[in-house]
């Protein structure tokens, strides 16, 4: 193997010790999975945001609430609804059910409705914040894993240096170079994960506060309805 081949990226990875190779593999896996999460979360959050805006526009355009509910029926049967619409459906279903029983007082009806919406909301929260903890832990842990691989590699390269008669930079440089690949990979996995975590948690927070606002507004409408009749 000549020197050029030995110092290529593949050469460095192949010559690394088993532990360092394992660390590299782990980091590569973490990077792949975190990118899966990043892309999937990105799609989900942007879809939820679009759905929210669309639904709010429809809701405040003065459409009848009953009609809005019926419109969503087909979608709900097909595969469940997402985001703000499921909030709306949960609240409205509970509201009509309680009113049909007829024996409940308006306060009890409102209480039940709000409870149903709270439940739906916590479910939505779960969905919006899914996988974000994974991104956070990749972002904070993978630099350490990479550093561990590097330290181990440098340790080995110095140990082999100790047995040499004459120590030159050329005897340690390849070892250190191959050890540093691990740190590079750790940073490579960590940086997008941290960025995505910050961005997506802000987005999710915005989404949830919008849901909350909508729930309040919707319950005030239902409140008016229950007291007017």
């Amino acid at each position: 193997m000549n020197a050029g081949e030995q110092l290529s990226l593949w050469g460095l990875i192949q010559n690394a010790s088993l532990l360092v190779q394992l660390v590299m593999l782990l980091l590569l896996l973490a990077s792949v999975i975190s990118w899966v999460m990043i892309i999937q979360r990105g799609f989900y959050l942007s879809r939820a945001r679009k759905a929210l805006i669309k639904f709010e526009r429809r809701f405040w355009s003065g459409a009848d609430v009953n009609q809005l509910f019926r419109e969503g029926n087909a979608r709900a049967e097909r595969g469940g609804t997402d985001g703000v619409e499921s909030l709306f459906r949960a609240g409205f279903t509970e509201f009509t059910r309680l009113r049909q029983q007829g024996r409940s007082s308006p306060e009890a009806v409102m209480e039940g409705t709000e409870r149903a919406m709270r439940v739906a909301m916590s479910r939505e929260q779960e969905k919006a914040e899914m996988n974000l903890p994974f991104l956070a832990s990749v972002g904070s842990v993978s630099p350490y894993i990479g550093l561990f691989g590097t330290v181990w590699g440098i340790m080995n390269s110095f140990r082999s240096l100790a047995t040499m008669h004459q120590a030159t930079i050329a005897t340690v440089a390849p070892g250190i170079s191959e050890a540093l690949v691990a740190t590079a990979m750790g940073l490579f996995a960590a940086i997008p994960a941290v960025m995505a975590y910050n961005r997506y948690s802000a987005k999710a927070e915005w989404l949830l506060s919008s849901y909350e606002t909508f729930a309040e507004e919707f319950s005030s409408i239902l409140h008016r309805k229950v007291h007017s009749s």
């Binding site: 593949w10 799609f43 008669h165």
Partner: protein, 258 residues
């Protein structure tokens, strides 16, 4: 959450990483040889345009009398020409003989010249070869000298590191007597055998303090076997014989608090 919402992200992520790995694998060497471009050249050719238009000849007029007269004239001219031709032939023959003689002489001269030239060339070539050989041998000598120098330097380094290792080993077990003072120097001569064992040790230059000298010799005896020396004797016996078999070491008392 539906499972198929993960299919696209998984594919995209795998593609991304594959692409990245490929780019890193092939584009790692950033310093590529700059491509040398050949100068582009145009082949030019000189073209002359000939005047291709031919002039037309005027048609001939037929005149019998004139023709006969001309025939007569022709015959006379022919006879004349024949005579001339004969004379010319004669002359030509003579000239040819002359020319042949001359050519012969010329050829001989040329052959001689050629021979001389070849001789000269051969000599020139020999001289050049000689010079080349001399230069080559000088170069080889210089190369050898340099190699020797490098070898010598390497040997010197090896010896130095061995000496240091020996000194360290001895100093590790060296217990100073209470009468030792900073700045005292003792030089000892140690004789080794190829197994690394010390066979003799004596003081070549005393520090003036007999206790200190004894303590150094005691330390040498305490170590007794030096594995570094053994390794060296196995790897480079010649070097061992030349440099290490009897080694002089200087011990200096330093770092005492007093």
């Amino acid at each position: 959450m539906r499972a198929n919402s993960y299919v696209l992200p998984v594919v995209v992520s795998l593609l991304f990483h594959g692409l990245l790995i490929a780019v890193l694998g092939f584009g790692w060497e950033a310093t590529e040889e700059p491509e040398r471009t050949m100068p582009q050249f145009v082949q030019a050719k000189l073209v002359t345009v000939d005047a291709t238009v031919k002039k037309k000849k005027a048609p001939k007029k037929v005149d019998l009398r004139e023709k006969r007269r001309q025939q007569e004239l022709e015959r006379q001219r022919k006879a004349e020409a024949e005579k001339k031709r004969r004379a010319a032939l004669e002359r030509k023959k003579k000239a040819e003989a002359e020319k042949k003689r001359k050519a012969e002489a010329e050829r001989k001269r040329k052959a001689a010249e050629e021979k001389a030239r070849r001789e000269k060339e051969r000599k020139e070539r020999e001289r050049r070869e000689q010079r080349e050989r001399e230069r080559q041998s000088a170069f080889d000598e210089a190369l050898e000298d340099e190699e020797e120098l490098l070898d010598a330097r390497e040997d010197a380094q090896a010896v130095m590191s061995i000496a240091q290792a020996i000194q360290q080993r001895i100093e590790a077990v060296w217990s100073l007597p209470p009468s030792a003072r900073n700045g005292m120097v003792t030089e000892v001569r140690i004789s080794f055998v190829p197994t690394g064992r010390v066979v003799a040790a004596d003081v070549t230059e005393s520090s003036g303090n007999a206790a200190l000298d004894r303590s150094v010799l005691n330390a040498v005896r305490k170590v007794e076997v030096f594995p570094e020396v053994k390794d060296l004797a196995r790897e480079e016996p010649a070097l061992f014989e030349r440099e290490v078999r009897t080694t002089r070491l200087i011990f200096r008392v330093e770092g005492l608090r007093q």
